[in-house]
């Protein structure tokens, strides 16, 4: 837990190891390669070495995550565990501050699992510029893990950007024909989000100083300063009663906007299908990880907890957007001919569903949201990799070019079927628990929303099942499909690695739920505490120390 002091605070280094192993591997490879080039005139390291060491690095991270983090994680523990805190820019109150709780734990495991699989899956796909590919993927993993484990806002921001740049490069360099346009669009959207959130971050920084008297951005874990959270400030701009700016709605809007772009939520989603279509298979998988870990996780962890009152006010709008997102994603997925675009729209629906649970701000909904995020990470990775399998063999993703693949590729068809059913939320597979809890949580808030989401889920199941039918079932009509080769052992083991957790979460979800629940309760407690903070009037020339402790001002009407 965040200690009271501002000095170093360490409960172990396992998280740092986890974060920096992939990035460190990447830098090591780069250094060796450059050294070879400079001192021996060799043309860098051979591709197979890059691949093997890259895989080894991310595999080691998986080992650390599985044994170190999951093994040490105390299911009963409250708050963040394995916290590590070290001064970074001490004069500015900025610390290297990491910790893991039940919410981030499974997302960390997901990342650590998927990245090595991505490297393994693109074993034969990427030939050109292999070195930079491995480099980007590993840096991206470090960025994602760092963002997930950050307990400091600025650090989260930095790691999130670190994960974004390699992603953009992967799409832009290794993508398809329209990759430039797609990566441009990706940049435009993300830049908008980044700038807005950076400005908001700075305001939070300033407000925090004004309110606590110390420069701090450690708002994520337990309160490290006098006040449990950031206090809403009312700034009179034209006489106290005529027009009053409140900081919280604006800051919430800024944070929510930047996260909503990354998730993406309707109507900010149009970059996403485009980017998926142009990205290489690995890029699509990683993109969906970034979406859920920087976008959805960030929304839950920062936007909702820092500005709970504004968030509560915005819930009707966010609910509506989430439900519309599910419906929109499912409906548009139904009519796509490009498999990747279809899966991308299904992603929109799935993530919107998770957000519906999160925005319900109820225990069931939030737990369901987290489980749904993990399940989404697993199933969407599997779906994109399956599309990649087809693309690699058939050089097309057009549904009408396929059909009857169950005949030549029975194992592929079986895996596709199970994955589709997991995405559709059938019991005994990972999607079910999340869906059920989300419907339960959102129903209590707004029955119409739950009903709309339910209809959307039926449509999503229809879209995916119809896709499965057109890809795998029916007669083999195209001659090119007749001789397709089924999955080899490398591919089978990749999908097995994804299907095992998919089944595990579905069959025996309770160990997962038991670890998530205390952290969600903690999150809700934090939200409740911060919701009770009365807004204060600000006078910008006041001395910061005057405002160092929360001041109950006369009007608490904003609460």
């Amino acid at each position: 837990m965040g200690g009271a002091g501002m000095g170093p605070y360490v409960e172990g280094h396992v998280l740092s190891w986890l974060i920096f192993i992939p990035g460190g591997t990447a830098l090591f490879l780069l250094a060796v390669s450059v050294a070879l080039r400079i001192f021996f005139g060799a043309s860098g390291l051979p591709g197979v070495v890059w691949r093997a060491i890259g895989l080894g690095g991310s595999g080691l991270a998986l080992l650390v995550a599985g044994v170190g983090v999951l093994g040490q994680f105390d299911p009963e523990g409250i708050g963040h565990q394995m916290v590590e805190r070290a001064p970074w820019l001490p004069g500015y109150g900025i610390h290297y501050f990491v910790g893991v709780d039940g919410i981030s734990l499974f997302l960390v495991l997901l990342t650590a699992l998927v990245v090595p699989l991505v490297l393994l899956a693109s074993w034969n796909q990427v030939e050109r510029d292999l070195a930079s590919f491995v480099l980007f993927v590993l840096l991206l993993e470090t960025g994602l893990l760092g963002a997930l484990l950050s307990l400091n806002l600025l650090q989260f921001y930095a790691f999130a950007e670190l994960s974004f740049v390699p992603l953009w490069l992967i799409v832009g360099v290794f993508g398809g024909a329209g990759r430039i346009r797609a990566s441009t669009r990706l940049i435009l959207y993300s830049a908008a989000g980044s700038v807005v959130s950076l400005v908001a971050l700075l305001i939070v920084y300033q407000l925090g100083f004004e309110q606590t008297g110390v420069w701090t951005l450690d708002w994520i874990g337990q309160a490290s300063s006098g006040t449990p959270g950031l206090i809403d400030v009312r700034i009179p701009i034209a006489g106290e009663d005529v027009a009053v700016w409140r900081t919280q709605p604006w800051l919430f809007a800024a944070f929510a906007l930047s996260f909503a772009i990354r998730i993406p939520m309707l109507p900010l989603h149009t970059w996403m299908p485009e980017a998926h279509v142009e990205a290489p298979t690995a890029g699509s998988v990683l993109l969906s990880l970034v979406m859920l870990e920087v976008g959805a996780y960030g929304m839950m962890r920062f936007a909702l907890t820092l500005f709970p009152n504004a968030a509560a006010d915005a819930v009707p709008l966010l609910f509506a957007l989430a439900v519309l997102g599910i419906l929109h994603g499912a409906l548009v997925a139904m009519v796509q001919r490009d498999l990747k675009r279809l899966v991308a729209y299904a992603c929109l629906a799935q993530l919107s569903l998770a957000m519906l649970g999160v925005f319900s701000l109820s225990l069931h909904g939030l737990i369901g949201g987290v489980v749904q995020l993990v399940s989404f990470g697993l199933t969407s990775s599997a779906l994109f990799l399956l599309v990649g399998v087809i693309e690699e063999r058939r050089k097309t993703r057009d549904v009408s070019e396929l059909g009857g693949l169950a005949k030549p590729m029975p194992v592929f068809a079986a895996i596709l079927g199970v994955t589709v059913m997991a995405s559709a939320g059938l019991p005994v597979l990972s999607g079910f628990v999340g869906q059920l809890l989300i419907l339960l949580g959102s129903f209590a808030v707004d029955a119409r929303a739950a009903l709309g989401a339910g209809v959307g889920l039926v449509l999503l199941a229809a879209a995916l099942l119809w896709m499965f039918q057109r890809v795998a079932l029916g007669p083999v009509e195209k001659a090119e499909n007749r001789g397709l080769i089924d999955l080899d052992w490398r591919e089978r083991s990749i999908f097995l690695a994804l299907l095992v957790p998919i089944l595990w979460i579905g069959v025996h979800p309770n160990p997962v739920l038991r670890r998530i629940e205390p952290s969600v309760l903690e999150l809700m407690k934090q939200i409740d505490e911060r919701r009770d903070l009365a807004p204060i009037l600000t006078l910008h020339d006041a001395e910061p120390s005057d405002l160092a402790s929360p001041i109950e001002t006369s009007d608490g009407d904003g609460v």
Partner: protein
């Protein structure tokens, strides 16, 4: 409150077929060598025998207990989240009470027989080299799901089994996946199933929150009934545009469970997708549509009969859906030419009767009819399968005829099942169960709006008799309407197929002993006390709101038998003595025939009226116009152009590329940050 006795072997009843099913599928996926057909059938039938024996054992234990007792086997927590008072717990726990006992015995017993039949049938009909073991993988898992439904201790576990039933029926319908028809039918069956699943989930959620608000959040079946008063006076207001009236939560939950049951039992409006489901292999049809899927729907309704007792609107709707479905599907069956579709429609008709029974307040009669139906309908499906297989996959009744003379024993079994199905008194099990449903419907005559129920049900009885007898004569009697060389190869099926049919046919006859109305029993020269044993057995678990069996039952009997004869005789006369007449009638009333034969164009209407517009909306409006034109084209690209123009002006010397723009923005942000930090550092 029911008393509960812990019993630790219930879990093995669904676990045995579950294990063998998983074993089959895993061995197909992972092992290079396939198991031999003999090994596959031995494993599967051992598992089903085990499940049946355990069910009998549990039944034995149960009847030794008090009247209202239940055996409960709690394995562990499956899902458990939340804090009081809204703790959401779903245990992996099984419950064996009177209602579960009946369904469990029937499912395990009939399941075993159908699987044995399938061993013979699928051996002979292997179009796909891995088909045999795959079939047993799917159908074992189907049966396991079905057993989970009837044994589940809470609604969430029931839901798991429910969806499992849906998935494996999807896989069985699409069993011959390389055929376009199967693939399409399977997908639509799946989607329809999902609609029912959604309704069930919403129902579960409603029950959960209603009980949580009363401080006793639970989803255990026994506890819901005990906490039923939580529903008193709780209501939802309709939206203003629907009038704003409050509707009791019990009624809404009742509607939800009703929709779910309709989807599972192919009642209206889900009847439309039933014909497609006959693409499954015949043993699968016998299993899925004959014995199980509709039974799952009826089980759910009977299980929740206490809820419907306080939700009269939902019960009334159920009765009406049942009767209209029965009428409609019996009518459709009269002109259908695909042998399995006729049987599928007759299944829907019987399930309509069962819905009528629960809706009219006599769930016991519905359960009884479900049991009878599980005896006779599989025999008809198996017989149809034998005919189809011997005619080289010919489904069309008009290209059959006179097959019966070569398969006497099959024909006898089918006749016994048929007499049960159309309800010929006295000693065929289907008769008494259906008569009691009609008695309940007859009692509902007193309620003003429900008066037509009984009359319509009587018409359905007649139409059903007509359609099934017509099937019998078209398929097994009359002229030979298929190539002669096939005829010589038609043979009585192997004993492995014949014996299950014979056993089930025997059960059709013996079945009447489980629920003989006292009025009939009194006709015997020797005295039989408490002859309606199924009613006595179920009295503790089902909530019967119908009037006591009224003295009018003899007149009801007369009317039912009269309608049966009125339906069956013309069919026999038409198709035996004047086989040319149906053709003439068809041409004479071509419009009517066309209307019915095309299912009143309801599926065309659905396709053109709902599916196509929805796809068009998705494609044109949502996908192209909203996403690509408006958001992408106008908003995003517009902003990009605007920014580019701005950056042109600001950063005159750089190339106005977007990457530079991004970097510039990052730079500006970074600079702002540094300035801020410096300021902040100074202040600190």
């Amino acid at each position: 409150m029911l008393s509960e006795v812990t019993s630790s072997f219930l879990r093995f009843i669904p676990a045995l077929p579950l294990l063998t099913g998983v074993l089959h599928l895993v061995s197909i996926g992972l092992l290079r060598r396939r198991l031999s057909a003999r090994a596959v059938t031995t494993i599967s039938s051992a598992a089903h025998t085990g499940a049946l024996l355990l069910s009998i054992l549990a039944f034995w234990e149960l009847i030794a207990l008090d009247d209202n007792a239940a055996l409960v086997d709690r394995v562990g927590t499956w899902i458990g989240v939340g804090v009081a008072p809204s703790v959401f717990t779903a245990d992996l726990a099984f419950r064996f009470d009177a209602l579960s006992a009946i369904f469990c015995l029937v499912v395990a017993g009939v399941g075993l027989l159908v699987q044995v039949f399938a061993a013979g049938y699928m051996e002979a009909d292997q179009r796909d080299d891995r088909g045999f073991q795959r079939y047993f993988g799917y159908s074992d898992l189907f049966l396991a799901s079905m057993l989970i439904v009837v044994l589940a201790d809470n609604l969430v576990l029931l839901f798991l089994g429910w969806v499992g039933v849906g998935i494996f029926s999807y896989l069985l319908i699409g069993f011959w996946y390389a055929e376009q028809v199967s693939a399409r039918a399977a997908t639509s069956a799946f989607v329809v199933g999902r609609v029912g699943d959604l309704a069930l989930v919403i129902g579960i959620v409603l029950v959960f929150w209603t009980l949580a608000a009363a401080g006793s959040a639970t989803l255990r079946l026994g506890e819901i009934e005990a906490a039923l008063q939580a529903f008193d006076g709780v209501s939802f207001a309709l939206p203003v545009w629907l009038g704003g009236h409050p509707i009791a939560v019990a009624v809404i939950a009742g509607f939800c469970f009703l929709i779910a049951a309709c989807a599972q039992a192919a009642q209206l409006p889900f009847l439309l997708w039933l014909p497609g489901s006959t693409a499954a292999p015949s043993p699968a049809s016998a299993l899925v549509h004959g014995a199980c899927m509709g039974a799952a729907g009826v089980y759910l309704l009977a299980r929740l009969s206490f809820l419907f007792a306080i939700a009269p609107e939902a019960a009334a709707l159920m009765a009406w859906i049942g009767v209209v479905t029965a009428l409609l599907s019996a009518g459709l069956a009269c002109v259908e030419t695909d042998i399995k579709r006729v049987l599928a429609y007759s299944t829907a008709t019987h399930q309509g009767f069962m819905f009528l029974g629960v809706g009219a307040g006599d769930p016991t009669a519905a359960v009884h009819h479900a049991v009878s139906h599980a005896f006779f309908q599989p025999v008809l499906f198996m017989g149809a399968g034998v005919v189809i297989a011997s005619l080289r996959q010919e489904h069309n009744l008009l290209r059959m005829g006179n097959v019966g003379s070569r398969i006497h024993l099959t024909r006898i079994c089918m006749w016994i099942a048929l007499l049960s199905s159309i309800g010929v008194p006295p000693f065929w099990s289907g008769y008494f169960s259906r008569e009691q449903i009609l008695v309940a419907a007859h009692d509902a005559l007193l309620i003003p709006l429900h008066a037509p129920l009984y009359v319509l049900a009587l018409v359905a009885v007649g139409l059903l008799a007509f359609s099934v007898v017509r099937l019998m004569y078209l398929a097994l009697y009359g002229e030979t309407r298929f190539p002669g060389e096939i005829r010589m190869r038609i043979e009585e099926p192997e004993p492995i197929m014949l014996r299950p049919m014979a056993i089930l046919a025997t059960l059709c006859v013996l079945g009447c002993t489980i629920g003989l109305p006292q009025a009939w029993a009194d006709l015997f020269p020797f005295s039989v006390k408490d002859s309606d044993s199924i009613r006595r057995f179920l009295a503790g678990v089902l909530t019967t709101s119908a009037v006591e069996q009224s003295p009018s039952s003899w007149s009801v009997s007369g009317q039912v038998v009269g309608m049966t004869v009125l339906g069956a005789l013309p069919a026999a006369l038409l198709y035996v003595f004047r086989p040319e007449l149906p053709q003439k009638l068809e041409t004479r009333f071509a419009w009517l025939h066309g209307l019915v034969a095309n299912r009143f164009y309801l599926d065309v209407l659905f396709e053109r009226g709902i599916v196509q517009p929805m796809l068009t909306l998705s494609d044109r409006v949502l996908g192209r116009w909203l996403d690509q034109r408006l958001i992408d084209g106008v908003v995003v690209d517009g902003t990009a152009r605007l920014l580019q123009r701005l950056s042109d002006r600001v950063l005159k010397h750089t190339e106005p590329g977007t990457i530079q723009l991004y970097l510039a923005l990052m730079l500006v942000g970074g600079l702002a940050m540094v300035i801020w930090l410096l300021r902040a550092g100074g202040a600190a």
